[in-house]
């Protein structure tokens, strides 16, 4: 599914975080979004999934203007946003989390799919999500990207704070998702890994797109500069 962000501006309260963002996620591709903390990556994803209303600009999904739609409406169109932190309901059990992630009526099917993707979840179905380890919680959060068979997946630093082994598992999972034909918009701290899987890269610096292109065009120095905050 194609996502197009056109001249987007967004912020919180009186502060503008994003300015003049133009970004495209073509169908069946992986797009990486890199940048320093506070550059606006999370904000961009939140706008794309409908959590935050842009103050200017438009959002097009598969050619259709969806600016101003609320997140649950976009979910129905096939968008899935895995937020930063652990996107689980801590006081619900794993099973209940999966129930909420599934499409109404298809709960048992969804649980089966989730377990097949992450067998470890299968052992913990009755456990409270808040009591699981960070990695397991992230798996649970990611399960949604599989259960709902979304066509556009927005991933916000899904590897943050996890052990390398788990990060490996997660990236394998992401690769599987990409192969299934979904588009991925990936915000990552693991720059190298992100560049390995990405088809395209955007670099965002202080709320504006500083670079857009293929990973091969991006060199380490540019990335470093962007992260340090120096203009390109």
């Amino acid at each position: 599914m194609t996502l197009v962000l056109e001249n987007l501006a967004a912020g919180y309260g009186g502060t503008t975080v994003l300015r003049g963002i133009n970004l495209v996620v073509p169908p069946s591709s992986v797009v990486a979004l890199l940048g320093a903390n506070g550059a606006g990556k999370t904000t961009l994803l939140r706008v794309a999934s409908g959590l935050l209303k842009p103050s200017a600009g438009r959002i097009h999904l598969e050619g259709r203007d969806v600016t101003g739609s609320s997140p649950h409406q976009l979910v129905r169109r096939g968008v899935c946003h895995v937020p930063e932190g652990r996107g689980v309901f801590p006081s619900l059990t794993v099973r209940e989390n999966l129930v909420l992630q599934s499409v109404a009526g298809n709960e048992s099917d969804a649980i089966a799919r989730a377990v097949s993707a992450f067998p470890r979840l299968g052992e913990r179905l009755s456990q409270l999500a808040g009591t699981m380890s960070g990695g397991e919680q992230q798996m649970l959060a990611l399960a949604r990207a599989y259960i709902q068979s979304p066509r556009l997946i927005l991933l916000d630093e899904v590897s943050m704070g996890l052990a390398p082994k788990i990060v490996d598992e997660i990236f394998e999972f992401l690769a599987m998702l990409a192969q299934s034909g979904a588009s991925l918009l990936l915000v990552e701290q693991y720059v190298t890994r992100a560049l390995e899987v990405a088809d395209f890269v955007y670099l965002i610096n202080r709320g504006e797109i500083a670079f857009a292109g293929e990973p091969s065009e991006l060199d380490a120095a540019d990335v470093f500069k962007a992260y340090v905050g120096v203009g390109l």
């Binding site: 899935c80 996107g87 909420l100 857009a212």
Partner: protein, 649 residues
């Protein structure tokens, strides 16, 4: 043991109704973060609608019941959900003010429509005796209510555990944004929660009324306050514990009632039981289990006045001149006693302003402090003390209770503090007022200072005190304590990292506020020669909060507008119905003020502006484009798709 059986039965049956009410309350609180203090008014409204349908429109009771529970309840729920959304972006203090305003408005509306006297409510459940336990009859109605309570609890629990909507409701408590992302609309989920909560409220109202064979708006509205005790036991979270909690509270109350017969000094303790439970619970429950639901909104600082200084000074000067001239003005005349009354309350309002606006805390028992001040005056005068000293002692007597409340204030915040103060106020009224150390039996005599028996001379003395209290609050606001208080209101955490003692500040401000409230109560008490319990009805503590909310954000406006609204204007209105309408207007205005506390009205207006800006995309823009095309391409940027359109694979 035998003699306890009747009390156990009474306690369990009345407790079941508390429990049903508490379940509705906790459900809506959990899912929306708004603790509906007006829950009881919803119960009352349900009961009155049932009464109208059944006894006035002569519908058979199952039809009336179905209409109330399945139509009226849900309708109220939808309205309340919108209200909760309006209150969601404001700090807790204003959420409370908003629901208090709703309580006042609803109660006034019911009084306007049905009058304030109670009416006979024909019971509709079978009244025959079901069985008898040691000589105490238990009738079918009580059995049915008890079963209904358990059934409702069971149904709710099952619903929550097993159904998708129920799971979503639990999820919306955890993380509403995440729920949105998983595909369920949080608004829809909350709406259902409010619908269920309100239907429960309506149902419990009908059941309450039936058990009394009577419908009385004051009884019904305030009865649910006892459900707060049940909610405390449920830690404001667990629905099944609500029923258990209700029964526990009901049992405790009846058993205490039995035990205190022999002790005249403990008379009234049973009435205060639910609030003692509430108070103790809030003190004892570990803090981490009492996390307030919902995002904690920090109060926005009051922007500096846009009126330039000289104008403000002129304004205050004029006000002072007018105030000095009041006894002579033509429209005052016979109404001077009301102006005197209003003057004594200036101190109360500025003290409440200090507490609520400047330090962001809340008190629902300020009139209780005033009562303490008044009895201090009365008793001290009884010992022959001069007036000024007696007034000051009246104020000082408030400090120990203020300390008593400040202790939970240290560990609680927002909602729980408000409930603790409410519980304290009611406890004071129902247990302490009638004791000899307070109002005793009948009234307590008070006196004006010598030489001030004339209303006009007393007016000037009271004006002096009022001005002094305003100045005192202004000084405090600008002092170091005031800055600490504002920091408290802004961000307690930041304050703590600076090493400033948050606890000490909270305690100090409570004590100052309580002291001033006591002074105002003493002055108020001195006006008419005696004070009695009914002068200091605890409901007034709620009303003054509502009036404070609509009286502006600064000390001066609170000092002037609030007393005038509450004491002067009603005195000019002789018609009791008009006064009830005025009170309803206060309630409604308080709700608006609360919703707007952080500029809440900006949001829908902004959205409107955004949407109308979209109109540029419509025919207007098309026309613009055609013009451009005609004129040739301008260097205005074309709608872009990024610096490069990547090739798809």
């Amino acid at each position: 043991m035998n003699e306890y059986i009747p009390y156990i039965i009474f306690g369990v049956t009345s407790g079941a109704v508390f429990g049903i009410s508490a379940m509705g309350l906790v459900l809506t609180y959990k899912t929306s973060g708004v603790f509906n203090i007006a829950h009881g008014a919803v119960c009352a409204a349900g009961a009155y609608v049932f009464y109208s349908l059944r006894q006035q429109a002569d519908l058979p009771w199952p039809v009336a019941a179905a209409l109330v529970v399945c139509v009226f309840g849900p309708l109220m729920g939808i309205v309340l959900e919108r209200l909760a959304v309006a209150f969601s972006g404001v700090p807790t203090a204003f959420k409370i003010v908003g629901t208090v305003g709703l309580l006042v408005a609803l109660q006034s509306l019911i009084t306007l429509i049905y009058g304030s006297t109670s009416r006979v409510f024909d019971p509709f459940l079978p009244q025959g005796e079901a069985f008898s336990v040691s000589g105490t009859k238990v009738n079918y109605e009580q059995v049915i209510i008890l079963l209904l309570g358990f059934a409702a609890a069971g149904a709710l629990v099952t619903f929550f555990r097993l159904s998708r909507l129920g799971t979503a409701m639990r999820g919306v408590v955890d993380d509403p944004a995440l729920l949105d992302l998983t595909g369920d609309s949080p608004t829809r989920v909350r709406r259902y929660a409010w619908i269920i909560g309100s239907s429960f409220a309506a149902m419990s109202g009908v059941l309450f009324a039936s058990t009394q064979a009577q419908i009385d708006v004051n009884v019904l509205t305030l009865l649910v306050v006892q459900a707060f005790g049940a909610a405390t036991i449920a830690r404001f979270q667990s629905l099944p514990l609500c029923i258990v909690g209700g029964i526990v509270v009901g049992l405790l109350q009846k058993l205490v009632s039995k035990e205190i017969t022999a002790y005249p000094d403990l008379q009234g303790l049973d009435l205060a039981t639910p609030f003692i439970v509430l108070f103790i619970g809030l003190l004892v429950i570990p803090r981490r289990k009492l996390v307030e639901t919902g995002r904690q909104i920090r109060a926005k600082a009051v922007p500096p006045s846009r009126v330039p200084r000289p104008f403000r000074a002129a304004g205050y000067g004029t006000t002072l001149l007018v105030a000095l001239a009041i006894p002579q003005l033509w429209f005052v005349g016979a109404h001077l006693p009301a102006y005197n009354q209003a003057l004594t309350q200036v101190t109360l309002f500025v003290s409440l302003h200090l507490l609520v606006r400047t330090s962001g805390q809340i008190s629902l028992c300020h009139f209780g402090f005033a009562a303490i001040g008044a009895i201090g005056l009365g008793h001290m005068q009884g010992y022959g003390m001069p007036f000024a000293l007696a007034v000051i002692i009246g104020g000082l007597l408030c400090i120990p209770p203020a300390l008593l409340i400040a202790i939970p204030a240290i560990r609680l915040s927002g909602l729980y503090l408000a409930l603790a103060t409410l519980g304290f106020g009611i406890m004071l009224a129902q247990f302490c007022y009638g004791k000899s150390y307070m109002f005793g039996f009948g009234s307590l005599a008070t006196e004006r200072p010598a030489g001030f028996s004339d209303d006009e001379t007393y007016y000037y003395l009271l004006l002096g005190v009022a001005v002094a209290s305003v100045i005192a609050v202004l000084v405090i606001e600008r002092s170091r304590l005031g800055r600490v208080l504002r920091g408290l209101s802004d961000s307690p955490v930041a304050l703590q990292t600076l090493g400033l003692s948050v606890n000490v500040a909270r305690v100090i401000v409570f004590c100052i506020s309580g002291f001033m409230a006591g002074i105002s109560g003493a002055l108020y008490g001195s006006l008419f020669g005696s004070v009695s319990a009914s002068t200091f009805n605890y409901v007034n503590s709620l009303v003054i909060l509502a009036v404070l909310a609509i009286s502006g954000r600064r000390v001066m406006s609170a000092a002037i507008v609030a007393p005038v609204l509450l004491y002067v204007i009603p005195n000019y209105i002789g018609d009791p119905d008009m006064n009830t309408m005025l009170q309803m207007a206060f309630g409604l205005a308080a709700m608006f003020a609360a919703a707007n506390a952080q500029g809440g009205w900006d949001v829908p207006f902004t959205r409107l502006a955004e949407r109308s800006s979209d109109r540029l995309r419509g025919p207007a823009e098309a026309r613009l484009r055609r013009l451009e095309a005609h004129d040739g391409p301008s260097d205005k940027a074309q709608p872009v798709h990024g610096p490069r359109v990547p090739v798809t694979r």
